[in-house]
Symmetry: C2
């Protein structure tokens, strides 16, 4: 059975988005700096359909590895965006244009049923209304033995960690202090999971910390 | 002029003490696990006056380096403990017995004036009532060109970081999730400091992340 894996860029003070997130600024103030190391990489450009250029090297290798052997993706409602509510509407197809960078079935956790949304490049969004365990089961079925990526955001990651369903996390620790925003690690009181270091990779721009998550 | 340096053990979810800290349990629930990697080390035992045994190796080297070239120490009121208030009294001499492990002048930030307290082994506690900049100046004067250690806790560390007065931080990231407690990084909104990675050292028990702190 494939692993559930999560990788995310986090500030040194533990935030994966800055303060005052909004429709115009979904990453919050300063949050875009979390991704400076990513967007210049060759693999990032390939994922987004740009085959020309980009940096190779250690960070590119790590990012590439994060997306190897993935058969499905899970994400939370805020990461997908849209739906009823102040931010969105039913025409909403995500933030990523016609050819999203997932290239797998994507299971979006939501309270609102919606027909699957077929995009270009192998991405289909499925909307799951019956909880994180159901989403994981559907994603594993779709993944056909490959791993499942948790796309985010923090709230969903916390739920999978607290439930002991996360298998592996790689934190890309970016040397910035955001001073506020959305914390990756929160709401984990009473959780009985443990983490075990798998490996550390250091570059000047970012420190990659990979952990195995183990249910006690 | 010597650097102001801070090293601290932090859980993966960003806590330097667990939830429900009390006089009986100053590190909070689960907080003692933050220090499992430390207390078995040869250098830790030496600091505490026990010359027999203890583990050597990478973690011991890192800890030893943290305490090299130090001429003075600064700490917050809660780390020292005591003083007027529900937890303490004026007879209080700190948590560390007659021969505290600092072996330098220690400047304790407090709102309550008190005469200096001379301990064994080179530690004298001085009580500073006029703020973090004064404490740093007094510590630097006492250090005679050597570095100054910030002993803790989190609140004082945050104040020095936010004020742009911290020079170097080493975070010993322990692979545990405490789920609550005292966060190292908090109350830094609006701070204009940046951090730059200095080096990473990885062991199975703990990942040591050292950063330079730079005022923007």
């Amino acid at each position: 059975m494939g692993k559930l894996r999560f990788n995310v860029s986090m500030s040194l003070d533990g935030y994966i988005a800055g303060p005052n997130q909004s429709l115009e600024n979904p990453l919050g103030e300063g949050g875009e700096n979390l991704h400076d190391w990513v967007i210049k990489l060759k693999f990032f450009r390939e994922m987004h359909g740009d085959r020309g250029g980009g940096e190779t090297g250690t960070n590119d290798d790590v990012l590439r590895e994060n997306f190897e052997n993935l058969g499905a993706t899970i994400m939370g409602r805020n990461m997908f965006g849209g739906g009823p509510g102040p931010w969105g509407n039913w025409e909403w197809k995500g933030w990523w244009g016609d050819n999203p960078p997932f290239h797998t079935p994507v299971f979006v956790l939501t309270h609102h049923p919606r027909e699957p949304l077929v995009m270009q490049g192998g991405t289909t969004f499925f909307f799951v209304t019956d909880g994180i365990e159901s989403a994981l089961k559907q994603a594993r079925d779709a993944a056909g033995g490959k791993d499942v990526a948790l796309g985010g955001g923090a709230s969903v990651a916390q739920q999978y960690v607290a439930a002991g369903l996360m298998d592996e996390m790689e934190l890309h620790v970016v040397p910035i202090l955001l001073g506020g925003g959305e914390r990756l690690f929160d709401n984990l009181a009473g959780s009985d999971v443990r983490v075990e270091p798998v490996r550390v990779v250091e570059t000047p721009e970012v420190t990659h910390l990979k952990y195995r998550v183990v249910k006690s």
